[in-house]
């Protein structure tokens, strides 16, 4: 029986069968997951962008915040799934604004306490939306607390220090930095990057977690020195 193994037809058929199997295993276990991950990232960025057009009218904040948050997280030694979780949370952090009236979001005059409360609801609303989606449910924790401050002055729960999840502490810095450096109707002059970095450095230990601020400064300094190098060259 095994002597027949040298039969060329047997060899050819076996070869074809083996290559079909290998190819389909490769596609379904390596290629497909990678492609799906890409599709998720792209779609979620698109949805976040849709909310941004409603919120600030300019697109790209979510992407920038995600980039910054991921670099900070990397500096803090976070890898793998956790890094991905922070990335998705950063993209989706303001998705709750989709169901907050545009008139309040874009108001130029100071908000009334009532309106301010409505705006503050966006982190909880966003977390609720994300919780309904199995694949993204684990980002809900980070989204709820992304406006909490280290000293307990943030919203919605006024949590303090280590009580705030690390992912949210990273998001707080990344999103505040982006908010300070970009123009908004209620905040017409955007800060220069150096000014914003200085603000965040000053609030280290009061608003922000000092260790995360250190990582942030490292990221920003690395970025700025590389920029200077480019300029010098």
């Amino acid at each position: 029986m095994l002597a027949n193994l040298s039969d060329p037809a047997v060899l050819i058929i076996t070869g074809i069968a083996l290559s079909i199997s290998t190819l389909s295993l490769y596609i379904s276990h390596v290629f497909l997951p990678a492609k799906m991950k890409e599709a998720y990232l792209k779609s979620i960025t698109a949805l976040a962008a849709a909310v941004e057009t409603k919120d600030s009218g300019t697109v790209g904040h979510a992407m920038r915040v995600a980039e910054l948050a991921v670099s900070i997280a990397k500096k803090l030694g976070i890898t793998g799934n956790e890094l991905e979780r922070i990335q998705y949370a950063a993209l989706l952090r303001d998705i709750g604004k989709a169901i907050i009236p545009q008139a309040i979001l874009n108001k130029i005059e100071p908000l009334t306490p009532e309106e301010w409360k409505t705006v503050q609801k966006h982190s909880e609303l966003g977390a609720e939306m994300v919780r309904a989606v199995p694949f993204l449910a684990n980002t809900a924790d980070y989204i709820v607390h992304h406006h909490e401050y280290w000293d307990g002055t943030g919203y919605p729960d006024g949590q303090k220090g280590e009580g705030i999840p690390l992912g949210s502490r990273i998001l707080a810095i990344a999103s505040d930095y982006d908010a300070m450096t970009s123009q908004r109707p209620y905040h017409p002059r955007a800060l220069e990057p150096e000014e914003a970095v200085e603000e965040i450095r000053m609030d280290s230990g009061s608003k922000y977690d000092p260790t995360v601020v250190d990582a942030f400064l490292e990221v920003v300094n690395g970025h700025m020195t590389s920029l200077e190098k480019v300029k010098a060259a």
Binding site: M1, L2, N4, L5, D7, A9, V10, I13, T14, A17, L18, I20, S21, T22, S24, L25, I27, S28, H29, L32, P33, M36, A39, Y40, K42, S43, I44, T45, A46, L47, A49, A50, V51, T53, K54, I95, A98, I99, I100, P101, Q102, A103, M129, V130, A132, V133, P134, F135, L136
Partner: protein
């Protein structure tokens, strides 16, 4: 009960046919020496194949094929028709035995798992349970049936299989095929491949003929008698059962050919080589389908939530999705459209996220510039959707869901008339308008008296305020009655709405009523 008697006669005839085929097979083609060994292997593999059906396409396309038939064909070519018949019969009994056992084992395993205190099940338990469920899935629907009915049907099914395998094997023999088990001749087109194709053709022809006869007898088409009924049934079988499986069938023929050849050369190893690509492809299709649907569900859920600025929207979107899906089925659109039109129904208004709520909620007349804002929403929605993978197909459905059949409506496109609007967009337009006309948006608002601010308990919605007696004003207009909405659709057919869609909608409503799951 004339048809029952005919059925019994049919049953008797099929037993007779099976017996005759078996006798002929035994008489015409001698059973090769030492065949029993191989018979046992064939039975084993055929049973495995029977229990683990293979999905050869997207889940909802029903392309599940059990790769048992190629094993039977291969058996007929390797061992001759009589041994192949034995293989069929033994496999029938064995697979029933295994599937009933695994069904019972699966149920008891489930009860053991659910009675455990912890909620987490170990990985092994999950795999075993999955496997047993899969293997027992053919038994599950039968568990409720009367054993006598079951036995009768099984016997009839088995005699059909005996006939097709026997006749296939005889054809192979008459066309000059050699029995692979006993010969060491060099195989060629003339003595192996062509006869084998003849075998498959004969087997399929017998299978479809038997199916046709049974269907004509037990399920006659009303209003079609005699030859016309037979032809009509033939057409139906061709369209619904033969053509959709043509590609899978072709694949199975190739598998059977190589299985027969490999088994004759390298024995059991041949089965494994032949089964490898099937198992891998099965894994691939399964993975692809589950991942894609998980992705689509995730993204649509998230996007649907993003539209819930108003409590009214949620129900509306779900109903539009449901009506659209039913309409797409009614119009017999391609499977791909039916699969995605529900997503489109849920997402059709996502462009409104860019429109201020003040404009959307305005009950008084809109200013021209406000109208312009609203008119942008289909384009904005299409823009958002175009970034979502696997939903590229629905971009145009969303873009044109406010475009009229006669070219009016929005968005304004140069020279676009009804012919360019995809039918799916027309379906969403009808579903959207119907639901908007019949739904009472008022119910989404809290009932508060306009003059004294009284709020009744128990969510009552009285006409007059029980506190001050003031008449309650409506914020939104009164919803139309069902007849009113239908009239409106009928009036708009050909101008605002696609006439074919309206026609389908009316016949659907007339037949099924307007009950909606999402209401």
């Amino acid at each position: 009960m004339g048809s029952l008697r005919v059925y019994r006669i049919l049953q008797f005839l099929s037993f007779l046919g099976a017996a005759a085929t078996a006798y002929f097979a035994w008489w015409c083609v001698p059973v090769p020496a030492h065949a029993w060994h191989s018979v046992a292997w064939f039975v084993l593999f055929a049973t495995l194949a029977e229990l683990l059906g293979v999905m050869m396409g997207p889940e909802d396309s029903d392309l599940e094929v059990t790769p048992t038939s190629p094993i039977y064909w291969a058996a007929a070519a390797v061992l001759g028709p009589f041994s192949a018949i034995i293989v069929c019969i033994l496999c029938g009994f064995l697979s029933d035995l295994v599937s009933s056992t695994s069904y019972h084992l699966a149920t008891s395993l489930d009860s053991i798992i659910s009675s455990k205190q912890t909620h987490c099940t170990s990985r092994i338990e999950r795999y075993v349970s999955q496997f047993l469920h899969k293997a027992g899935s053919t038994w599950e629907p039968r568990a409720q049936e009367n054993w006598f009915v079951m036995l009768n049907r099984d016997m009839m099914y088995m005699s059909a299989v005996v006939m097709l395998v026997g006749i296939g094997g005889l054809t192979y023999h008459w066309l000059g095929g050699v029995l692979l088990q006993s010969s060491n001749v060099v195989l060629s087109l003339r003595n192996f491949i062509l006869p084998f194709l003849g075998l498959v053709a004969a087997a399929l022809a017998v299978e479809w003929c038997l199916h046709l006869i049974v269907m004509v007898v037990i399920d006659p088409i009303p209003g079609a008698n005699g030859l016309y009924g037979v032809l009509l049934r033939m057409k139906l079988i061709l369209i619904e059962e033969v053509l959709p499986f043509a590609r899978a069938q072709l694949f199975l023929i190739v598998v059977a050919l190589q299985m027969a050849y490999l088994f004759s050369r390298i024995g059991v190893l041949g089965f494994i080589v032949a089964a490898m690509p099937i198992v891998a492809l099965r894994d691939f299709f399964h993975n692809w389908v589950t991942r894609r649907s998980a992705y689509l569900d995730t993204i649509t859920t998230l996007a649907t939530y993003m539209q819930h600025y108003h409590p009214y929207t949620r129900g509306h979107l779900k109903r539009v999705a449901e009506i659209s899906t039913r309409l797409a089925r009614e119009l017999r659109l391609p499977a791909e459209s039916i699969r995605h039109i529900g997503h489109a129904g849920l997402l059709h208004d996502i462009g409104k996220i860019a429109v201020s709520e003040e404009i959307l909620d305005k009950t008084s007349k809109l200013e021209p510039e406000e109208w312009e804002k609203i008119k942008e929403h289909p384009l904005k929605g299409a823009e958002i959707i175009s970034h979502l993978d696997f939903l590229e197909g629905i971009v145009d459905w969303i873009k044109y869901h406010h475009k009229w059949h006669d070219g009016r409506g929005y968005p304004l496109t140069n020279g676009s008339d009804g012919a360019n609007i995809p039918i799916e967009a027309a379906i969403i337009a009808v579903a959207d308008s119907f639901d908007a006309m019949t739904d009472d948006r008022e119910l989404s608002l809290e009932w508060i008296c306009d003059s004294c601010g009284h709020k009744p308990e128990n969510n009552e919605r009285p006409r007059k305020c029980p506190n001050c007696g003031a008449e309650k004003r409506r914020t939104y207009r009164e919803p139309k009655t069902l007849d009113g909405a239908i009239d409106e659709l009928r009036r708009g057919a050909g101008t605002q709405f696609h006439p074919r869609v309206v026609k389908a909608f009316l016949s659907m409503i007339e037949r099924d009523g307007v009950h909606l799951d999402a209401r």
